[in-house]
């Protein structure tokens, strides 16, 4: 079951980069997000799953569709056919390299440091243990908002 979800995620990502119509590519990116968040739910990460669906499959897809709508033109960029034909070859080559490395490395176990499992509800962990990250999140949201404001300011005086 998990393998099926992972293959679905990879398949829709491949579709997202190979499709020529931008709208269809954005939609297939959103479907890939849905597969990813189902994976998160199955891995006992419900908060991450909800966030992934609402933000990545929701907000980012809306931003993409808005941008595509704002940049429609008569002569759309036609991607060349060559990368799409070559893609399967590169993909299979990459997978075979990875399988080689995997078989070699699978014989070498990766040692890890065993730690006691951390307990606590999600809210506790986010607000108490990773408080510095909250400040960072606020900072990065402000940075994004101000960058967008700077890029869309009214150019009254000088361009």
């Amino acid at each position: 079951m998990h393998l099926f979800l992972l293959i679905g995620l990879v398949a829709f990502s491949i579709l997202a980069i190979l499709l020529r119509d931008l709208l269809k590519a954005a939609i297939s990116l959103a479907v890939a997000s849905i597969f990813l968040s189902v994976i998160f739910f199955r891995l006992n990460a419900p908060y991450a799953g909800v966030f992934e669906i609402s933000v990545v499959a929701g907000l980012i897809t809306v931003l993409f569709v808005a941008t595509i709508a704002l940049t429609r033109s008569e002569g759309d960029v036609r991607e060349s056919k060559l990368p799409m034909i070559l893609f399967p070859f590169f993909f299979v080559a990459f997978i075979s390299i990875i399988i080689n490395i995997l078989i070699v490395r699978h014989l070498i176990q990766i040692p890890t440091v065993s730690i006691p499992p951390v307990s606590g509800s999600f809210g506790e962990i986010l607000w108490r243990q990773r408080t510095f990250d909250i400040i960072g999140q606020i900072g990065v949201i402000f940075a994004g908002v101000f960058s967008v404001l700077a890029l869309f300011r009214s150019r009254g005086r000088n361009g």
């Binding site: 990116l29 940049t71 060349s80 999600f122 999140q137 990065v140 994004g144």
Partner: protein, 102 residues
């Protein structure tokens, strides 16, 4: 480490490959950005899978959520730049953006 984690990391590597392939070969600006989104999916999967394997899923969720917030800011800024490029040159072809030669 158990093989479940290794399986997930393998798929993360595949997603990174797909994303970087898109960045190297595609011409439309928005398509290039979809490549970066695929890379971001791979990274989120890596974070959560690692947290699951270490039995520490809560911290991994915090990290993944913080990363998604960062990703939204980057997407917003990049799409604003793309819209402005469209207003300037009227097309979304990266071959038209060759005035500066790194």
């Amino acid at each position: 480490m158990d093989s479940f984690w290794v399986l997930n990391i393998w798929f993360v590597a595949i997603l990174m490959f797909i994303g970087i392939y898109c960045l190297l070969t595609m011409r439309n600006l928005i398509k290039l950005f979809i490549g970066i989104e695929v890379i971001a999916k791979g990274i989120t999967l890596a974070l959560i899978a690692t947290g699951f394997a270490k039995n520490n899923i809560m911290i991994a969720q915090s990290l993944a959520i913080t990363f998604i917030v960062v990703e939204v800011s980057v997407v917003a800024t990049a799409l604003a730049i793309i819209i402005n490029i469209y207003r300037h040159t009227g097309s979304l072809d990266i071959r038209k953006l060759t005035k500066l030669k790194g």
